[in-house]
Amino acid sequence: MSNRVASEPMLFGHTNRFQWMVCIAGMAAFIIGMPSGTAAQQEPIAIVGATIIDGNGGPPLLDGTILIEGERISAVGPRSSVGVPDGTRVIDGAGKYVTPGFIDTNVHMSLAFGRSWTDTNARYWPQHDALVLQGVQQQLKYGITTIRDSYGALLPMKRVKEAIERGEVLGPRMYVAGNIVGWGGPYSETFSGIPESELSLFEEQLNDSITLGSGEEWIHMTPENLRTAVNEYLDFGPDFIKYGGTHHRSSPSPIMFSPRAQRVIIEETHKRGLVVETHATSLEGLRLTIEAGLDLIQHPEVVGYRDITDELVKMIVDRGVVCSLLPNRWTGEEWQLHLKQKREDLEEQAKPFRRAIPKTSAEIRREQEEGDQSPKDSYRRNAEKLIREGCIVSVGTDNLLWGLRAGGAPEFQRERDPVQHHQEPGIGTIIGIEGLVELGMTASEAIVAATKNGAIASKALDEYGTLEVGKMADLLILRADPLADITNIRSLELVIREGQIIDPDILPTNPVTEAWGVARFNDGSDELQ
């Protein structure tokens, strides 16, 4: 039995006229005023004489030509054998490198977080659509032409997705899941360990907006009632389903749904031809989801602070389950910081322990986690193992609208993230692709993961993901060779999205929030000084 609550409109129930005006202005702005045009190019486009890295992982095609007609690729081949019709807009590809558009299989581009984001939620909820657009355009700015948003506010995201599809605004291809079904929303026990008894009215409403009837009541249902509830949620029109295999917490992480309840969720989702995935952060919890028949696992390297077992890896490989890793989190500057912190903690622990009362098990656990049994070390080892054993790896990032910072919107953040933006929209995905190389892939394999495998994750490889005739023309033109050095994916010159040329510099077109450290609460007291 689901509780369908008309959640979206009620948040506007008591907004005053001024807020309504801001809201309408914001929505009008992004529907009307996009500066760079909204229709696909009418003329064919040809990129001539470039190095073409098609996403299949083979050797690149030197001195190649790609011809794009309408939304799709109509020819790919050596320059000498691809004819360019009259009236084609020709882009000189000499010294340039063409790849498929990148795909991030795990982002969160809406307001779906609690705790330290409450001020952000209170202020920006009425501008939700514009915020989502800002976030997804930030992704596109870095060449991410397809995103899968695996947790967030379904209805605003669908509105933005549909505006993009109608050509009214620029943006990546979007897949949205909405709630992680079974979890109770940003301010819930299963998502953030917050008991329902402590919530304000706003927090309860926000939970309902995110869950849309797919909250914690699902784990108390009979399989029959669950089947009905799953279908009611599917009727809202998500593009895929993500369910809580376990609690959100990494450890301890109890299981949410019994095996047969999981089979119900997967069955009903597959009947609609949609992908089903999970968050499952314990060994046994993960095993149950794989046995239930799911298509993709988000961050399978995170299994309750444990090393993933050979048995589980084999199951994943044998069944072709897609592994959407978080390579941006266990590599690069973020990783160096972790190592530094660990060294300091171990030095601290090496000092003699002088208390007569022996260590409690909680103290021992904390020491292990800060020292030689750090969970992050296990996540990195697991990621390396999944790569090594030949799992289908895609690039997920857990990118958030303003990165992983307490506070949310920039005016509510005390400090800039000390690490270079490893979970910010766009750049986080770039750091993730680079991270795959640090975790053991070649640059070529990393590009396959970021393109082809991303399309496999959405069961849409026939539509996009590689540079092949008949597929959608989502591609990037880079100034330097990413196969020589993966960081050259940062040398982005142009994005082409379903045949439309986009200059990354114009994105995002209508950002809602200021840069960090600029806007602040101002009661007018500055004038008094």
């Binding site: 509780n3 609550v5 009620m10 129930g13 008591h14 109770g184 026990e189 299963t190 360990g193 008991p195 329902e196 919530l199 009215l201 309860e204 409403q205 939970n207 309902d208 869950t211 909250g215 914690e216 009541e217 784990i219 108390h220 249902m221 009979t222 399989p223 376990t246 609690h247 917490r249 450890s251 301890p252 992480s253 109890p254 299981i255 949410m256 749904f257 019994s258 095996p259 047969r260 314990s282 060994l283 046994e284 919890g285 095993r287 149950l288 309750g304 602070y305 444990r306 077992t309 009362i357 022996p358 260590k359 409690t360 098990s361 909680a362 103290e363 021992i364 656990r365 292990q368 049994q373």
Partner: protein, 523 residues
């Protein structure tokens, strides 16, 4: 003995057996060295008692035997029959029980006689928990409860009192001890109370360890093979049965700590030692998995979040002969009347609030709260309890009686329906309110309790060869179940006990005693 400071070092992926064994030997050695209590009114092995002229209600549920004689030699019953057919051995102590009613001793399959929460209680009493436990145990015996199963508490002092009672050093009911609810992290933990480990004080961490003894939330991270090793280590501590978290503690939302395979490992290893495996399982799907894993008993299966119990589950419980240890004391009698009053008041309050007319519709959280406040939980739980009885499940009397916080820290008096001893009596009466006959209620309180201990061959009914755990009532409980309150004496393993002498050395006295009273009775 310092029960809170005793903390074995436990590391994930490491089995601590050698060090643990040395602690266990140390404990045992300490007990051998300490001076035994002088034997009080313990009878020597050959003392004979004959109870003559009573109506015997033997616990099997059939017709009572009028004008009967029961002969007890030493600890055991050696004869039961009509007085005309049973010879009273010469030299036997004869008890005239004419006009009175003899039943087996009652059995409570779910108590908590060590403190469970109340940090101040732990702070003040951590080195006297054994005294607190003994008082709680004896308060049960005072009402004729001759066997109790403590399904969650501080392990070491519980084991110590269990053993002292078994050796005859102190008077008390037969005590079965589980210790931790394995898989849960202790009284100040996520799984038990929703408290994150990062927020704990040093003392709270120590208390958790005194509960878990290595059987805490880490178990959820294990593979079934690792879990097997961990379960064996915990069993080596000498517990009498295993209770595991089939779900987490909270009613809503309730998650599942262990996969079916992991649960089967826990149940298997427990059964390998001939012990009972039981669970706390508060969702429909969670309870189903636990039954499939092979549990012997489920605690309070009427509590399934806000869900009515399904026909499928009732069938599984009956077919698998799972014992249903119910909380009948919380759904009947005076507390039921209070629930009904509270429900009426809540409905009125909600009605008045709703006609004020807030524009925004109710949130799902508000709807849930309204349902709970308006007694839907009770309205679901009581029908669940009635259906369990109606479906023919093997129902035993489990109360969740608790000693709770020390009386000096209580603002209000502890409610009677979960007080050690009287709570069990209220539960037995409650069974009749829920649909049983008095005869069936007595069977539930005796025979089924012994089945819950897998010890029906040893006690639970009044039969030749069994241990002499008996209650003598001055009025007929089959005529009116409330007559279980009319206890004249109780007998445990042949030893006659005057209820008025219990508890023998109370450590907690009256409720609401002032903080600085400094009174420590019995010391």
């Amino acid at each position: 003995m310092n029960y809170i400071l005793f903390i074995p070092k436990i590391r994930l992926d490491q089995v601590l057996r050698p060090r643990l064994a040395s602690w266990v030997f140390l404990l045992l050695g300490f007990q051998f060295l300490s001076a035994p209590y002088p034997a009080s009114s313990a009878q020597d092995a050959e003392a004979v008692t004959a109870i003559v002229g009573a109506t015997v209600i033997d616990g099997n549920g059939g017709e009572p035997l009028t004008n009967a004689t029961v002969v007890v030699r030493g600890k055991r019953i050696v004869a039961v029959g009509p007085s005309s057919a049973v010879d009273v051995p010469s030299g036997a102590q004869i008890i005239d029980a004419t006009g009175k009613y003899l039943t087996p001793g009652f059995i409570d399959t779910n108590v908590h006689i060590s403190p469970l929460s109340g940090e101040m209680t732990f702070a003040r009493y951590w080195d006297r928990l054994d005294d607190v436990i003994l008082q709680g145990a004896q308060e049960h015996l005072k009402y004729g409860i001759t066997t109790v199963r403590d399904s969650y508490g501080v392990l070491e002092p519980l084991l110590e009192i269990r053993d002292k009672i078994a050796r005859g050093e102190v008077i008390g009911p037969r005590l079965y001890v589980a210790g931790n609810i394995v898989g849960w992290g202790g009284t100040y933990s996520e799984t038990f109370r929703g408290i994150p480990e990062s927020e704990l004080t040093f003392f709270q961490e120590q208390i958790n360890d005194a509960f878990t003894h290595g059987s805490g939330e880490d178990w959820m991270n294990m593979t079934p093979e690792e879990l097997r090793v961990a379960v064996r280590s915990y069993l080596d501590l000498g517990v009498d049965f295993i209770k595991y978290g089939g779900t987490t503690h909270a009613g809503y939302p309730a998650l599942i700590p262990f996969s079916l395979e992991a649960q089967k490992v826990i149940v298997e290893e427990t059964h390998n030692r001939g012990l009972v495996a039981e669970t706390h399982s508060a969702t429909l799907e969670g309870l189903r998995l636990s039954i499939l894993a092979g549990i012997d008993l489920v605690q309070h299966p009427r509590s399934l979040g806000m869900s009515p119990i399904t026909d499928e589950l009732l069938e599984l419980l009956v077919d698998n002969k799972v014992i249903c240890s119910g909380l009948q004391n919380t759904l009947t009698g005076k507390v039921w009347e209070k629930h009904l009053r509270d429900q009426a008041a809540a409905l009125r309050r909600q009605f008045l609030r709703d006609i004020e007319g807030r524009q925004a519709p109710k949130t799902t959280a508000e709807i849930r709260r309204d349902r709970q406040e308006a007694g839907i939980v009770v309205e679901v739980k009581r029908p669940n309890a009635e259906r369990l009885i109606d479906a023919g499940c093997i129902v035993s009397v489990g109360t969740d009686n608790l000693v709770g916080q020390a009386p000096e820290f209580r603002r209000e008096q502890k409610p009677e329906h979960q007080d050690p001893g009287i709570g069990t009596i209220i539960a037995i009466e409650g069974l009749v309110e829920l649909g049983m006959t008095p005869s069936e209620a007595i069977v539930a309180a005796t025979k089924h309790g012994a089945m819950a201990c897998k010890a029906l061959d040893e006690f639970g009914t009044v039969e030749v060869g069994k241990l002499a755990d008996l209650n003598l009532l001055t009025a007929n409980p089959l005529a009116d179940i409330a007559n279980v309150r009319k206890l004249e004496w109780t007998m445990k393993e042949g030893e006659l006990i005057d209820p008025n002498t219990l508890p023998t050395d109370p450590i907690w006295s009256e409720w609401g005693v002032a903080m600085d009273a400094g009174k420590t009775p019995g010391r």
